[in-house]
């Protein structure tokens, strides 16, 4: 049977109120899984388990005050990661002694005693850093020859493709030779440095696991804790006492901290010195904290609130993505697969569309426009457009039609600022046109569409599309759109639901026109009909308005004369 005890939570935090228990007896838990929410005087924190197994009995209740080191629950068939829970008692330890409050009892032997690293105590090799990480770039060395290192002390910062990790030493002694340089690629198992004489790491001490840089936050804190735990001390013992006491014997040199949060900026912030100090202690970048005081002054409460929000979002974020992005099955089980990095346009598109889809409540309105007459006009004016260097396409005409419609219905040429609870109406009409290229979807924007005639628009559209396909579009040419048109008619289809190009609020989709029998003047006539689809942001646009807007567009296609009368 294995016990889980409340681990160290941070500087000067020795207890907290149990707000929520997230486990029940009989439940299976795995290491790292959050098991409860604890409110300390600094923030609400989710406490992850350091043990795995089946929960047997829970020794605490919601609403109770829990002290660091107190037993929270026991598990059966459990395994524990000692590095993360040094307070964990060995299986044979009687619960009564283990239940004592801080300082925690001496930690159990390391669970990963068979780790390949640190086999020879006179040298320090790069230990296992985590699953699928076999090397990293050495960002910063924190030791020098002749320096004394102690077990648990961070000796370097390594950048893996997952994170920047502080690597603690697993040996103690005086550094003799350093075999790596900053900037080197270092492999797991590679010798980092050697020790003089070869001091031996006491076997009882746990191997401190590498600590991830979570925004510089927590990291330094955890590194510090890991080292102190390695020495079997509580933080209170390791940290200098609050009152000056001229008793040098009580001081233990703590491990050096990594970066302190928020110290990369030079600009002064409107926060009093004690507030800035609090932010550093909480690992909050003061420059990110919104100040609620006059002139944006940041108060102690602002820092605490921001810190709390950070912790809550840090705790919730992984859970949110957990639901949103379910773990993928091992596709290779069923056949050969190839994994390709998602880059450039594809990644951007994925991010942008995900954002648009999750932000905007979409509705799509469908309609049909009779373009029989328009087709005749198009054929007639095609040579004029060609003279100007363009092609008189349905999209070119749609540009003009939409520009006119947007003038009549300004709420379709707007954006929403939910933060300020305002609607932004644009006094300009810039329309983006989705272009299919071999790199993916690009949306060049045609500016001031309302001030150009169809021939000009056709020429500009032809140019921009060509530029898009030639990879010559500049970012500026894809910015500033207030509405978007996407035409899949060239390929086919009878209708589709385009996704609004956020922060715009509407998008018009055109499908393939076809000859349909239309009941006219008492008989069926063969007419060319264009399916049009309008997706819109239902937060700003009501269904009836969307129907009117799309009808206006359909009618403008049917009677181009409308443009000059109403547009």
């Amino acid at each position: 049977m294995t016990e889980f005890k409340l681990p160290e939570l941070g500087e000067n935090i020795d207890q907290g109120d149990l707000v929520r228990l997230m486990i029940a007896p009989g439940a299976t838990i795995t290491e790292g899984q959050p098991v409860m929410e604890l409110e300390t005087d600094k923030a609400v924190v989710e406490v992850p388990s350091s043990v795995s197994g089946t929960v047997r009995d829970i020794r605490v209740k919601e609403g109770e005050k829990i002290k660091v080191g107190q037993v929270i629950f026991t598990v059966e068939n459990g395994t524990g990661n000692v590095a993360r829970a040094p307070s964990q008692a060995s299986a044979s330890a009687p619960p009564a002694t283990a239940a004592q409050v801080a300082p925690p009892p001496p930690p159990a032997p390391p669970a990963r005693a068979s780790a390949p690293a640190a086999a020879d105590p006179t040298e320090f090799r790069l230990p296992e850093l985590g699953e699928n990480i076999d090397q990293g770039d050495l960002v910063r060395l924190m030791i020098s020859p002749g320096a004394r290192v102690s077990e648990g002390q961070p000796v370097m910062e390594l950048e893996t493709d997952k994170a920047v990790v502080e690597v603690p030493s697993s040996v103690s002694g005086v550094v003799k030779e350093i075999r790596v340089k900053e900037g080197d690629k270092v492999k797991v198992g590679e010798v980092i440095f050697t020790l003089e004489g070869g001091a031996v790491a006491p076997p009882q001490r746990p191997k401190a696991a590498p600590v991830e840089h979570v925004s510089g936050q927590v990291a330094a804190r955890l590194a510090f804790q890991a080292a102190i735990k390695a020495e079997g001390k509580t933080e209170e013992q390791a940290l200098p006492p609050d009152q000056p006491q001229p008793i040098p014997q009580t001081f233990t040199m703590p491990v050096q901290l990594g970066k302190v949060a928020g110290t990369d900026h030079g600009e002064p912030v409107p926060a009093a010195p004690h507030v800035r100090r609090l932010a550093r202690e909480l690992g909050v970048d003061i420059h990110q904290v919104p100040g609620t005081g006059p002139g944006g002054r940041i108060s102690e409460d602002d820092v605490k609130a921001y810190s709390k929000a950070l912790l809550v979002s840090a705790v919730q974020a992984p859970r949110a993505t957990h639901f949103a992005e379910p773990v993928l099955p091992d596709f290779a089980k069923w056949g050969k697969i190839e994994r390709v990095a998602m880059r450039g346009v594809r990644r951007k598109t994925a991010e942008h569309l995900w954002e648009a889809w999750s932000t905007i409540p979409h509705v799509t309105q469908h309609d049909k426009a009779d373009i029989t007459e328009l087709e005749q006009l198009r054929a007639r004016f095609a040579p004029k457009a060609e003279e100007a260097g363009g092609k008189m396409t349905v999209t070119a005409i749609a540009l003009k039609v939409c520009a006119s419609a947007l003038k009549v219905f300004p709420q379709f040429n707007a954006s929403i600022d939910m933060g300020k609870e305002e609607i932004i109406y644009k006094q300009y009409i810039n329309i983006g046109v989705a272009v299919d290229t071999d790199r993916g979807l690009l949306v060049p924007v045609i500016r001031d569409v309302d001030k150009k005639n169809i021939v000009e628009l056709a020429a500009e559209l032809t140019q921009l599309s060509q530029k898009a396909r030639d990879k010559k579009l500049t970012p500026a040419e894809m910015e500033g759109g207030s509405f978007t048109i996407t035409n899949l008619g060239g390929i086919g289809g009878t209708g589709f639901s385009p996704i609004v190009n956020h922060p715009e609020v509407a998008i018009l989709g055109l499908s393939r026109s076809s000859i349909e029998p239309v009941w006219m003047n008492g008989k069926f006539e063969a007419r060319r009909v264009l399916p049009v689809s309008l997706s819109y942001d239902h937060r700003l646009i009501d269904g009836a308005d969307a129907a009117r807007f799309l009808r206006w567009i359909a009618e403008a296609f049917e009677q181009p004369f409308l443009l000059s009368v109403q547009g």
Binding site: G146, A220, A238, M253, V260, R280, G296
Partner: protein, 467 residues
């Protein structure tokens, strides 16, 4: 300021050894800087005021100056302070080692004591607080007792009849003021077009005007071309590209002049040539400063450095604050040296003090600010002191009305500036200064009134807000 760091470290429970070549701790500030110079400046001020008293109907006659008694009084102040620090070291069980230290490696130091014996010490962490020394320009190097640096000038061996001060920075002006008050004819030569380069011109102007009366001459845009000693003194030749305003003055001095003594005060150099530093990973930049991060940690993670040796401004109060930060970082606290304002004070008469953003800096960065000035001519207190040449100004962010900087020129400016430092550190708005009751009649009121000027309504001057 090594002692400040050492004491804090001891108070936090660390076992501390303090190594210094002097008998007692103290550093540049106590032995050869702030403290002895301020003792002498106090005397200078007294002499000047006794002369000014004629305006008020009081005649003291010419002061009789006993240089040796003055010197021993000044030395007494230094001794009392440094001796006090020695006692404090003992009380804190800080092991004090008199000697010169060099690195064998990052954590092993070899100390050479005054009696040439050596001792090897090992430690977990080192803090370097080696300070700075007067800079020397090779062309101004002349081996003669008539040549002084600031340290020699503070020794006050005599009161020369004539003195040339090379360099119009704060050290030269402070010491020039001392010697001028004691009766020396002082000439200042500065190669830049103004005294106190870097300080806002409107703050320097009242000082410049007063120094013009006090000193024999002030030569701007002028450099010393050569030095030669003969029986009559130091023969100095100048070369000047004097600006039109100063041309007349400079012209009279083109060629040569003879001075009894020459004080070279052209800046200070960091003491980063530490023996065995190459055995560590400490980086010294091309300007001679030791590179540190915001925890004052050098590139050698077990070695920290503070004070003049890590960079400008070379001020004792900056150094002691850095010392605190370094020690707390060593103790595992999450700290950083990132003050919003470091006050600077020039202890001339009038004094000049500033903190936070300066107007010069704002202009350089093309940063939009509003400046509110309150001239001391409208201050009752300044009038009672017969010192109305002063001025108090606030630099304010127009968007937030936050106080970004403060500058003061006038008697006691150094004592007044702390309010500005506090205002900036606390993120105060000009409104806060305006609405804080200041005692009447004091010079501190000028700060409140400068804030009133910003809002267009000040009691003692009429200057409606322009919009």
């Amino acid at each position: 300021m090594g002692y400040a760091a050492a004491f804090l470290a001891a108070d936090l429970g660390m076992k501390v050894t303090l190594i210094d070549p002097e008998v007692n701790p103290g550093g540049v500030c106590l032995y050869r800087g702030c403290i002895p110079s301020k003792a002498l400046l106090h005397v200078a001020k007294l002499i000047e005021e006794s002369r000014q008293a004629r305006n008020w109907g009081i005649e003291f006659g010419n002061p009789k100056i006993d240089v040796s008694r003055l010197r021993s009084w000044k030395e007494g102040v230094v001794k009392k302070l440094t001796g006090g620090l020695g006692t404090l070291s003992k009380q804190r069980s800080v092991q004090y080692v008199q000697g010169w230290a060099g690195f064998e490696n990052s954590t092993t130091l070899r100390v050479t004591k005054p009696d040439k014996t050596e001792e090897t010490l090992t430690c977990d962490r080192v803090i370097l607080a080696t300070g700075s020394r007067p800079a020397i320009i090779p062309s101004l190097k002349l081996d003669s007792p008539r040549m002084m640096d600031s340290t020699a000038a503070l020794d006050l061996t005599d009161v020369p009849a004539t003195l040339l001060v090379v360099g119009g920075g704060y050290i030269g002006l402070e010491l020039g003021t001392v010697y001028a008050a004691l009766g020396t004819k002082v000439t200042v030569v500065e190669m830049l077009p103004g005294l106190l380069p870097g300080a806002d011109r409107d703050l320097v102007l009242p000082l410049h005007k007063r120094l013009e009366k006090m000193f024999d001459s002030i030569l701007l845009n002028t450099t010393v071309a050569g030095l030669q000693e003969d029986n009559s003194g130091i023969r100095v030749s100048f070369s000047g590209s004097a600006a039109p305003a100063e041309r007349q003055q400079a012209a009279s001095l083109q060629g040569e002049r003879v001075f009894d003594k020459v004080l070279v005060s052209v800046g200070r150099k960091p003491n980063s040539e530490i023996a065995g530093l190459e055995n560590t990973s400490v980086t010294v930049n091309p300007r001679g400063f030791i590179e540190v991060n915001r925890q004052l940690q050098t590139d050698d993670p077990v070695i920290y450095a503070i004070g003049d040796v890590v960079g400008e401004p070379m001020l004792a109060h900056k150094a002691s604050h850095e010392g605190r930060t370094a020690v707390e970082a060593i103790a595992g606290h999450k700290v950083a040296f990132e003050p919003n304002a470091i006050p600077a004070v020039v202890f001339t008469d009038p004094e000049i003090a500033w903190c936070g953003l300066t107007q010069t800096q704002a202009e350089k960065e093309n940063r939009e600010i509003r400046v509110a000035k309150f001239p001391w001519g409208a201050s009752g207190r300044a009038m009672t002191l017969d010192r109305t040449e002063g001025m108090t100004k606030l630099l304010i962010d127009p968007a937030t009305e936050r106080v970004l900087g403060m500058g003061i020129v006038g008697a006691g400016a150094g004592e007044l500036i702390s309010e500005g430092v506090l205002a900036i550190e606390m993120g105060a708005l000009a409104r806060d200064l305006e609405l804080t009751i200041h005692p009447h009649p004091t010079l501190s009121e000028t700060i409140m009134e400068a804030a009133e000027v910003f809002y267009g309504q000040a009691t003692d001057i009429y200057r409606p807000k322009k919009n």
